[in-house]
Amino acid sequence: MATLNVLILVCLGYVVLLFGVAFAADRLAAAGRGAWLRSPLFYTLSLSIYCTAWTFYGAVGNAARSGLEFVTIYLGPTLVMISWWWGLRKLVRVGRSQRVTSIADLISSRYGKSNTLAICVTVLAVLGGTPYIALQLQSITLSFSIFAEADPTGLYREGSSVFWVAAGLAVFAILFGTRNLDANERHHGVVTAIALESVVKLFALLAVGIFVVWGVAGGLGPMLDQIDSSEIGQWNVDAGRWTTFVFLSAACFVCLPRMFQVMVVENSDEAHLRTAAWAFPLYLLLMSLFVVPIAVVGLDLLPEGSNPDLFVLTVPLSQGNEWLAMLSFIGGFSSATSMVIVTAMALSTMVSNHVVMPIWLSTQGGAGSVSGDVRHVVLMARRISIAVVMALGFFYYRLSGGGAALASIGFIAFAGISQILPALVGGLFWRGATRTGALVGLTVGFVLWIYTLLLPEMGGGFMSGTIIQNGPFGLEWLRPQALFGIEDMDPIVHSVMWSLSLNTVAFCVASLLSFPSPLERLQGAQFVNVFDHSVAPRGWSGFVAQSEDLMIMTQRILGAGPAQDFFQAESERQGGRSSLPEPTPAFLERLERELSGSVGAATAHAMIGQIVGGSSVSVEDLLAVADESAQLLEYSSQLETKSAELTRTARQLRDANTKLTQISEQKDNFLGQVSHELRTPMTSIRAFSEIMRDTDGLSPEEQTRYAAIIHDEALRLTRLLDDLLDLSVLESGRVNLNMGGDTLRSVLDRAVSSALAGSSSGIEVRRSKSAERIPLHTDLDRLGQVFINLISNAQKYCDADEPVLTISAHDVGGQVVVDFADNGSGIPPEARSMVFEKFARVSGEKAGGAGLGLAICREIMQRLGGEITYLPGQGGPAFRVRVPLAYRQAAQ
């Protein structure tokens, strides 16, 4: 039986060895001789930090409890490595080109360098990482206690050991994680130590496995038989849990701060991913190879109630193989220490960069950034952060009492960390993702994770049983483990389903609804299109590549022809050794001048600077920014158009309103006119009828005269009503035309005799009847009405001593033209446009008609497809009537 004291000595020795390795590696790297340290093998081994004590001890425990389900935590990363290596490559490329220091930095950088987001991710990572660190501490103490039970004489004291383990790990992390402040945050020493630890833990687990199969079970055959007869061998798959756990472990492989640290931050060459893509799954395969045998043998050999999480230790111990048990202990110790150290380093970087430093800088009022002691402050902040993170883990361990099974703590942490995934993947592949989207998504996921998983799982102290049973405030649909009434689900599956799906939905919706700032757009373009414009770090092909880039850019700005001519000329000027000129300062200056003619001096300078200087903003981003400003310009010109349209619409409305007002006034006016024309004859009729009724002794002459007046005024009233009705029918367009054929001559004959019938005043009508032999096809009565009107007007209003009306007719191009001119005084020019209006009366005109005659004529001529106009220059009043020889429907 190895004593506990020996174990402690071995541990200390192991730690000293790690120190030595890390120290040596740092020295080598500093001296520039450690090229072999940056091999793909070391990179792959450092990735195996994924396998923590949870994997080392917990996988066996998991297998003993839930059968093959433990495979899921290996399956996730394997799937990522094999099928999503291109996504990882993008992540690594972005991380390197943006000089990212942590996953919080990456998310912040992608979404417009938002420190709010960085703090969110940091808090999430710390909250998710703390239980995980506690888990490692727990595994170390548990494994110590196994040896302590066997050796009561040892120095081991349960209570203090966790503290000392935590403190020791903190010291290691501080010593190697914050030794220097490298610009790209690489820690060769730590990575090398981790690589060594990876080998140790794999070796230990394989050794235990081999011992179990060949030493205990008696070879491969009996072992397989034993597995077959055990419950673990049963293929018992819960699809929901399997999918969730595979997904979770895959998500965390990318999102965990320590994984991000080794995979992205510590990566020295993107090409290492190629090797890791097959080597890391192989490592995981080896790690998982003996999990089932150890679990089966452990369940078989050890007494009921033994902790299956410690089978890796207790099985060799029960067989009396203390050295193997010690090796296994070292393996578990390796897993735990490497995880804790890297996690503490990664978290402390985040905490110090995004929480401590901003606060410190704001209190310094900018003075610190010039005084040169920032470096010292940063290192101090990191060291304190590491101590704080370790202390958090330690307190979490003490608070939770180490009660829950290792595996379930691991998955709770996984579920928390995986909330970063939507913002991370969205940021890498979707330019539309915005800061607001990321913030909202993270917050939603984070809150749901705490509410549905973290608080219920931490036990009674944090969330009362009644809330879990009945929901908060008795709201059943808010029960943390049966949200929205979805019951009987595994708590982890339930929480992951809700938190991640709502996180993703919130992220997408908020991104679509919000507008990114210019910096966000720029960063978004750089992240999403990282392969399009970042030069792969390995291929430093020198000046030619730059010249090509310059050529491509110039073509985009000047057009292909001019660009080629310019480069050709430059190449010849340089001696024409190659098809492209060397980017000498002189050449660049000329190119800049050439480009500034098209895009302006500042832009030209910036563009060339980007390509030649190799700085992080690419031409494409600049073009994208230019595109966007062009879009803005277009948008503002659209706004201008819109505003012009609105002005136009407003003007149209005003015009319409004026028109309506005019129409209303015209209507009022018309009604006033109608009223006047009706009331005037009625006044005479009433007055004379009252006179006749009331006056005694009227002479017979008077009686006759007054009766005649009454009769005439009654006729006038009738005529007025007839005209009004006629006009309203004509204006409404509901007039029925009565078509017939005749010559113009006979239409005029009837009109003249009708107009002059019963008239005392003699007006001479002059016609040339031979010219009137024009056949017509139209509404003859309506045309006759127009003629009668014109003849009676001449008869009524002609003021010549010997009134003469001349009617002349001829046909022109399918139309008959008939002119009516008399020798009276003409209509003054200002009144000519008015004569066709209703109730228009030329001033001083004798009463007789209501003033509707010419308005009716105009309406009739319109219906007949012709027109009536005033004919100036005839000496007296003259009207011209045009009417089609044959009425055509189309004329309407």
Binding site: D668, L671, G672, S675, H676, E677, L678, R679, T680, M682, T683, S684, I685, R686, A687, F688, E690, I691, D694, T695, I709, D712, E713, R841, S843, G844, E845, A847
Partner: protein, 126 residues
């Protein structure tokens, strides 16, 4: 003593009816059928009362009334205004212009006689 009324009306039949009525009442009736000259005719005829139509050729009765009231010696001349338009607006305009009495056509003979008597009585009292 003879009372003189000036009747400014372009409808000959209406003018004839009013002349008939007022002559029988003992008025001396003068008529004028046109608007442009009306004011000058009023001034030269110097009537005791004016009966004024609104719709006159040349110049409307409203304008004639307004111009008339501008003249110092015609400020109190009784003016009976007749209109066939019969809109409320016309009555308001006439009252603003300083009409003594406003009547809408068609009127009853008795109404016209009463109005003429009243106006004349008022004018002689004051």
């Amino acid at each position: 003593m003879s009372r003189k009324v000036l009747l400014i009306e372009d409808e000959p039949n209406i003018a004839e009816a009013i002349r008939f009525l007022l002559t029988r009442e003992g008025w001396q009736v003068e008529t004028h059928a046109e608007g442009l000259d009306a004011l000058r005719v009023i001034q030269s005829a110097d009537p005791d009362l004016v009966i004024l139509d609104v719709m006159l050729p040349g110049k409307s009765g409203m304008e004639i009334l307004r111009d008339l009231r501008e003249l110092e010696d015609l400020k109190t001349l009784p003016v009976l205004m007749l209109t066939a338009r019969g809109q409320l607006r016309d009555r308001e305009m006439a009252e603003n212009a300083g009409v003594s009495r406003f009547m809408t056509k068609p009127f009853s003979n008795a109404e016209v006689l009463t109005a003429v008597r009243d106006l004349h009585a008022q004018a002689t009292r004051s």
